[in-house]
């Protein structure tokens, strides 16, 4: 009578080592979409590299890479319509690119300058892109999960057919909001696709210390929704699985939990050194499964990839980022006034008074600050 714990099923995958698609599995996407996915993934990698370099040069304060996870989030988000909403975590830099957010909007955020949409309020990579239905990112892990559930509930109440996609990591599954967010979504049949990018690590904590569950996907049954494990380094597989989940959601059949099985190739962030706690061997194994190289072989086989094109993507990305960085560095900090704006829609009398206090100060501003996280 004891229901013992389930074992993890193999992640669904399509792309084989040699670049072929598994029998009967190829979603047969249009060449345009295939090329677009590839371009975004490569550009994402270039962007990530450049940003980390800027951090190492002391030009921006912090950065967080998605190295190795490009297929996982780009493939998922590509399953949506542009009118669908995203509730991202901080490790999906490819999504703004996919949604054609201007590079300047991305780069200005790193610098927290006067051109930053967020007015320099948050650390780098905590984007907000309303035009792209990309909801403001915050640092506390997991909180966006119940937001997505709520937005989905709202769309149902309004009778809209918008679909919502929330991203979070394996660490995020331990959060309060994972539990209540999936629970509410299940009970209210919210049109949400929950994408857990299981990259095996939460900073220095490995998956086995995060949960005793055999997989993330099986936790879906706690919430009465389907759970799917998919190879997160296989952009076609991720796309296909998410497409099905999106369709279900749009038809009013409720939420899905998708676990993309992948690996965090970089350190957690620019402040972290994974060599302190992580085995290099496993790292090398995952390198073999690089999502860009795998997808490249597939495109190559389909005659959609050439070396020239590859070079072109790299060149364009480097150039455009370079230009955007140049413009960003020329911009000043947000104005002192801006410090008090947007706490509420209107300034309160108290904030007006506090602003006056600050404006009245004379003498040089002191700036003996430390570095993150020291």
């Amino acid at each position: 009578m004891n229901r013992t714990s389930a074992t993890a099923e193999e992640p669904f995958s399509i792309l084989e080592a040699d670049g072929k698609a598994g029998r009967d599995k190829d979603p047969n996407l249009t060449p345009e979409l295939l090329k677009r996915l590839y371009e975004v993934m490569v550009t994402t990698r270039v962007l990530d590299e450049r940003a980390l370099a800027l951090q190492r040069q002391g030009r921006i304060g912090f950065y967080l890479q998605a190295l190795g996870q490009e297929a996982s989030h780009v493939g998922a988000a590509a399953a949506l319509r542009d009118s669908d909403w995203l509730f991202p975590a901080y490790r999906q830099p490819g999504i703004p690119l996919l949604r054609r957010v201007p590079l300047d909007d991305i780069v200005n955020e790193w610098f927290g300058n006067d051109g930053d949409i967020c007015k320099g309020r948050q650390m780098p990579v905590h984007y907000s892109f309303r035009q792209a239905n990309f909801v403001s990112i915050s640092s506390p892990i997991g909180t966006q999960i119940s937001h997505a559930a709520g937005a989905g509930m709202a769309a149902r109440i309004r009778g809209d057919d918008t679909v919502f996609m929330a991203f979070f990591g394996d660490g995020g599954t331990s959060s309060n909001d994972f539990h209540c967010g999936l629970n509410f979504a299940g009970v209210f049949k919210a049109p949400v696709v929950f994408v857990c990018e299981n990259n095996q690590w939460a900073i220095s904590v490995p998956l086995a210390q995060q949960t005793a569950s055999a997989s993330i996907a099986i936790t879906a049954s706690s919430y009465g929704m389907p759970g799917v494990r998919v190879d997160g380094n296989d952009v076609l597989a991720v796309y296909r699985v998410c497409k099905e989940a999106v369709e279900r959601a749009r038809k009013g059949e409720g939420p899905t939990l998708v676990e993309t099985v992948t690996y965090r190739m970089a350190s957690h962030s620019s402040s972290d050194d994974a060599a302190r706690y992580r085995d290099a061997k496993i790292h090398d194994e995952w390198k073999e499964r690089d999502p860009i190289a795998r997808f490249q072989r597939y495109l190559h086989k389909k005659k959609l990839w050439t070396e020239d094109w590859e070079l072109e993507i790299h060149e364009r990305a480097r150039h455009e980022i370079h230009e955007a960085v140049k413009r960003a560095e020329a911009l000043p900090r947000p104005s002192l006034d801006s410090l008090f704006e947007g706490v509420f829609m209107n300034l309160t009398p108290q904030l007006v008074e506090q602003r006056a206090e600050l404006l009245a100060l004379k003498g040089p501003e002191s700036e003996e600050l430390g570095h993150f996280p020291l």
């Binding site: 949409i117 119940s146 709202a154 909001d177 706490v343």
Partner: protein, 324 residues
């Protein structure tokens, strides 16, 4: 005008705004079929259907988290937390998300939502059905905090809160849910956030009080009057943003200030009022600024009547501003 209780005024406000704006939805634990444990949402599910007035799973974190998602998407959530004592599982969502959404996104995303919750002692609810934790919310930039003390204000302030473009914590003094009765305007009635109310005028001492403490202070003022003290009572109604001029002008006139509240004393809203007065009216003060509040202990059950400020303690506080 209709005479109603403070509790009925809550329902009236919700009904009025649900009729007025079809984006308004009401939800929480037991608010649907049962109409809430205090019956504040009674009749709403019948009138507006289970899509607009519904029960949730037992998770305050989920209630507030999904409310934020709804507000982001553009509807107007009014969430009930059954007792304020149970709001803490949602604290992260309130403090880290609702309060900061507008600021952190440079105004791209906003959180117009209302969290309603009965608060305060006086109903023999003991430890976990009696607390007054307004200070936590007042200390959090980005939240408005509202506490009515009369039925008319309840309706007017709750409607204003629902229409506000920012997150509002709306705290209802449950002790006077049924004992506070008064005339309430029918239909539209808005009391703007940020404006206090002079409950009674006086010349000798300014007493600042809100929620269920206003009525206690009125009784104390009657008593004080008999002893020749003329008391001015100010009810700020909105704790954040505060109507500072109303309080400061009164204190400048009377030269004395007592703040009355139910919460534990340390870092309370009473401390805040005292600090403002000590910073901005010091030249007019003729005595100490006295806080009459709960004690720095958890809320008790059997000795509740001693824990909460009563007429005796308010009178003693008033006397302290003269004899110190």
């Amino acid at each position: 005008m209709t005479t109603m209780t403070l509790l009925e005024a809550v329902t009236d406000a919700l009904r009025t705004e649900m009729r007025n704006d079809d984006r308004v939805v009401v939800f929480g634990e037991d608010v649907g079929r049962k109409g809430g444990v205090f019956l504040a949402t009674q009749g709403l599910q019948d009138e507006f259907g289970a899509e607009r007035c519904f029960d949730t799973p037992l998770s305050e974190c989920g209630i507030v988290g999904t409310a934020i998602g709804m507000a982001l998407y553009g509807i107007r959530p009014v969430a009930e937390i059954q007792f304020l004592d149970f709001i803490y599982p949602a604290f992260d969502q309130i403090v880290s998300e609702a309060a900061k959404m507008r600021y952190r996104s440079g105004g791209e995303y906003t959180c117009p939502l209302v969290i309603r919750s009965p608060y305060g002692g006086g109903i023999r609810g003991g430890h976990y059905h009696s607390q007054s934790s307004e200070a936590y919310f007042c200390h959090t930039p980005g939240l408005k905090v509202v506490i009515p003390s009369t039925p008319a204000d309840t309706k007017g302030l709750l409607i204003a809160a629902i229409r506000d473009e920012d997150p509002v914590i709306f705290l209802e003094p449950k002790r006077i849910y049924r004992t506070a009765k008064g005339d309430v305007p029918e239909g539209e009635h808005v009391v703007p956030l940020g404006k206090g109310r002079v409950v009674r005028e006086g010349t000798d001492v300014t007493v600042v009080a809100y929620g269920a403490m206003v009525a206690i202070c009125e009784k104390a003022a009657d008593e004080a009057q008999k002893r020749g003290r003329s008391i001015e009572i100010i009810d700020p109604r909105t704790l954040v943003p505060l109507d500072e001029p109303l309080i400061l002008e009164s204190v400048k006139k009377t030269g004395r200030c007592v703040v009355v509240f139910e919460a534990p004393r340390t870092c309370s809203y009473g401390s805040e009022i005292a600090a403002i007065v000590a910073e901005k009216a010091i030249g007019h003060l003729e005595g100490p600024v006295v806080r009459v509040g709960g004690f720095d202990t958890p809320f008790p059950y059997s000795l509740e009547h001693l824990y909460m400020p009563d007429v005796r303690r308010v009178l003693l506080g008033i006397e302290k501003t003269f004899n110190w």
